[in-house]
Amino acid sequence: MSNEIAILGAGMHPWGKWGHSFVQYGVAAAREALADAGVPWRDVRFVSGGATMRCGYPGYVAGATFAQALGWQGAEVNTSYAACASGSQALAAARNKILAGECEVALVVGADTTPKGFLAPAGGYRPEDPDWVRFYLGITNPTYFALYARRRMDLYGDTQEDFAAVKVKNALAGSKNPRARYRKCFTPEDVAASAMVADPLRLMDICATSDGGAALIVSSVDYARRIGKGDAPRVAAISTVTPTFASGVVEMPDIATDSAAAAGIDAHSYRASLPVKAYEEAGIGPEDVSLAEVYDLSTALELDWIEDLQLVPRGEAAQLLRRGDTAIGGRIPVNTSGGLACFGEAVPAQAIAQICELTWQLRGQAGERQVEGAKVGITANQGLFGHGSSVIVKA
């Protein structure tokens, strides 16, 4: 396929709460990816960074910040901000540059340092800001995750034990991942004993925020062949579609959904729309997928994503889970990295980290987490303000 690019290298700085500059994590991830690719830094002609909003001006110009930290060598730079999809948008910019013939090798990198404690909006009286309004009324991030989880229980018969089973599964996978922040195994009883945060979700159903960095070296397929890496995994599709009005699911940080009252307007699910373009672009279907990395902001949300990716019909993700099919060794493993449950969210790095895991899996380098015979992987994530992405990687 003419619109494919090769993934030559993947690298990550381990996730944690390290308290260093985000630049340090990004540089470490980039150097690991460069070494993995066997590509000299000076050959990289485009640096595409995911922006971080929490680390001051260097974060707003992350592409340039990383290029400077790695040593200015004249490469062109780009910085993408798309909330949790920032990394995918940075990858899309690199792909465009490569497919347009403007460069052969690009670095895609994202890193974040998260503050301690709650992420609260700016102060004052600011009812024009939906983020301020919802916090003023007592509506936090877990509120939204819990509303979705409760609906699963009501509509499909999911239970809190199912949600706990997602945590147990992901913790086991993460225990085998040296880059994960949380590497302890948990039992269903551990989850059930954790504090109720937003009924039906407990503390251990909800992901943390972390420091971390992830990077990819991508190139034209022609370049990959020239350096003897013609069989490197390929990026087969990148979907970064926005929602379609009217959005029928109340999304963070809004206090209400769109209205679908106008003639000719129906309510749509944004999450479900994200992989549609990815499958079309890759020319494959959900039946071709070997494994998936999805955005488990909560345990229950992983089950929503499995259905949004059409891996099972709507409402049947918990049955898949109960059969063990989403565990490593199962029919369609989900979050073999350990997911956000074991990493915690490092926003501009997270979408790239998902692709790193797929890259190692498709190369057969995932060690104890290896999915046998993995040929096709898909990612999915969603962030604020109509940002989300789904990326397909093929062996």
């Binding site: 309004v133 509506i139 509303l147 029928g248 206090i255 106008a262």
Partner: protein, 144 residues
């Protein structure tokens, strides 16, 4: 109970009094509703209207989903001391074809809620200031 005067926590988002209603807008051209109010541009991709009328939204709807706040939310939320957990509802309005979030009235916990039940809009204190009691909209199960 305080004898301070009542004042809306957020000015202009709902009517005051016995049968309170949320105040939104409606596009004069395509009929799309907006809450919070939108008076500058219609967000329907098939409509380029800039004309809106202020409307009062339905007072009742069906419970789409619910949860609670087990931990004290961060500021600007003003918490009672000690913090009292509260339930939160997402209520679907039939005519407007939209879902609106809000706290559930005090004394009603998640164990008393069920998806699909009819909820009505009421006003209740959100917090007190030196001068007044700030009230906001909350959802309450309709008796029976």
């Amino acid at each position: 109970m305080s004898d301070k005067p009542l004042a809306p926590a957020i000015e202009g988002w709902h009517t005051m009094g016995e049968q309170p209603r949320l105040i939104g807008t409606q596009c004069s051209d395509c009929g799309t509703y907006f809450f919070p109010k939108q008076s500058d541009y219609c967000k329907n991709p098939d409509c380029d209207s800039t004309e809106f009328e202020e409307v009062q939204l339905s007072r009742t709807g069906q419970l789409w989903s619910y949860t609670n706040a087990g931990y004290k939310p961060p500021t600007p939320f003003v918490a009672a001391d000690p913090f009292e957990p509260f339930a939160i509802a997402a209520v679907q309005l039939e005519r407007e074809q939209m879902t609106v979030l809000g706290q559930v009235v005090g004394g009603v916990g998640v164990e008393q809620l069920k998806i699909g039940m009819t909820m009505e809009l009421v006003l209740e204190a959100l917090h007190e200031t030196d001068d007044d009691v700030k009230v906001t909209w909350k959802w309450q199960p309709v008796a029976g």
